[in-house]
Amino acid sequence: MKKHILFFVFAITISIQAQQKLAFSFGETPQSLMLNPGAETNFKQHYGIPILSNFNVSIGNSGFKFADLFLDDSRDFNLKFQEVLSKIVPGDNISINAVIDVLNAGFRINDKTYLSFGFYEELDIITYFPKDMLELFYYGNEPFLNRPFSISQASMKADFLGVLHLGISRKINKKLTTGARVKIYSSSLNIETSNNSGTFTTIIGNDNILRQSLDNIDAQLRTSGIVDSNNEVFDSPDEFISKTFFGNNLGLGFDVGLTYHFSPQLELTGSILDIGFIKHSNNIRNFTAKGDFILDGLNFEYNSDLTLDYWQELEDDFKDKVPTSETQEAYTTWRPMKINAALKYSFGEQRRVVCYGETHKKYFNNSMGFQLHTIMRPLKAQFSFTSFYEKSLSKNAHFKFTHTVNDYSPAIFGTGLSLQLSKVHFFGMLDNILAVRDLSTANNISLNFGFNIVID
């Protein structure tokens, strides 16, 4: 039991999260089209190297640091655990979001239009620390008379899906480029519980010494892809992966984006990703509980004429007042929509680059600006603000340096590289470079890289 809990804590601490923030509006990489379908491109065609064309992973945890629990300082582990538990606040979360491109390619239809398409696998999990429930489990209710333990903090969403996509980027004029992408989602696994409400409270009673109450309980858990129609649990990774290729739980989504030049030096980019839904209709199991209940204990009646089963009465009363249900009803989930925006000012030496044959494009070897990123999450949207400086050493080599403020930390420094050697394009981003010196004290670290074949 203890080991399971500790592995859970460990898993929390090395949670994986992909935001690909640094790659947004950087280096005109083929993959920037996945973050902004309206991104400008200067190549004729591209072919992602399967599996390696875009991979992003980051480690983050807003609740505590790895060293808070496991630093070799001879302090009692239980004391450290209690400190971590007290440090967590409602809203702290673990989020895992990993995207692996299985296939990605694109080609230019004409000077103004670029078409891209592909297929990627995505794992997306967010779970909030249910602080009240954790404390209730760890300490019990005895130290917390009159404290309402809320179940509203119990909120999580997990998705594993495959995404087939087709996007188009079109240059409207010298100033404006727009784009859109249509996506077909194939969900392999979905678990979600959110918008739960209700409290558990122990107070001094009137009829008995104590009274316990469940107030306004309204809880639900929806799942698809875990249990089949024969009540057999899917447990093979191959089964989960195979269902991401046009399984029975399909959805539709869109991305839109634009790039706009206020002047040759001032550029605005923006995108909204994953405006879409998934209809879950296969292998569904939903659970609900709703109601109010007050427990004063067993009320002995000393009625010699009747033999009463007080316990059974209590159980029946509980089932009557807090009914639970298990259904297989289809349901719809919304994808976690992301909103990205960047304002970039370019300056310094002006250069020209040959784009797709005979077209030339001017660019500056320095730029700076800021980016805003938002992702919609069950409890609240997550925001991050990034300021950056970009340096182009040549037409094929670009560097990016960033400072990000987000839910995890106010000081995350990152760096990125976009490099093209002949027809092979490589990009890599490392966020929170200071944390690399000591991963155990980091709240957040991420790496994003990819290899693509680019034909100018």
Partner: protein
């Protein structure tokens, strides 16, 4: 699956190569989860006429009621309960003293644990008592599936009068110490 995991391996190898950590240890991991759980147990309020027969003619000096409880059927509780502390509060408005005997019984009706020393004096409106059951010393307590509460009126020249409303109030709560 292996192909899909390849970038993950590359990433972790890369991070491991370029990064370092402070001194960490996993040897001292020993998490003691020891919740203390409070629950109300049994309560009742008896009038004087509860101690008379149906015709209110003959005083009954002893009454008993029994309830099934299934808390200790749980293997989680069976395996992790260390101690149970039971608090009693009794209000005696009768003109009689009495004793309360609480027997915990297994499913066959065999007593697994008894509390026999709750003696309440005449007019005691604030009687309280606490009794502790250490599971290690009374392992058979874990077999309890019923609780029987017996009230024995002590003999006295004062006779209860069923026509007068006077009550005896019994309240109890348990504090259960668990260790995982």
């Amino acid at each position: 699956m292996r192909i899909i995991l390849a970038p993950l391996k590359i990433f972790f190898c890369f991070v491991l190569c370029i990064s370092c950590t402070d001194n960490l240890t996993f040897d001292q991991i020993s998490l003691d989860i020891e919740p203390i759980v409070n629950v109300p147990i049994a309560y009742f309020e008896l009038d004087q006429n509860d101690f008379f027969d149906d015709d209110d003619d003959i005083e009954i000096t002893s009454i008993t009621d029994t309830a099934v409880f299934r808390v200790l059927e749980s293997t989680t509780v069976q395996e992790n309960l260390i101690k149970a502390v039971i608090d009693f509060e009794i209000i005696n408005r009768f003109d009689r003293s009495f004793e309360v005997i609480i027997d915990f019984l297994d499913s066959n009706g065999v007593i697994t644990h008894s509390i026999t020393d709750l003696n309440i004096a005449v007019g005691d409106l604030n009687y309280s008592a606490t009794r502790t059951i250490i599971v290690e010393n009374s392992p058979e307590f874990l077999n309890s599936r019923k609780v029987r509460v017996k009230i024995n009126l002590f003999s006295s020249p004062n006779v209860l009068d069923p026509t007068i409303s006077k009550t005896l109030v019994f309240r109890s709560a348990g504090t259960f110490y668990l260790s995982f």
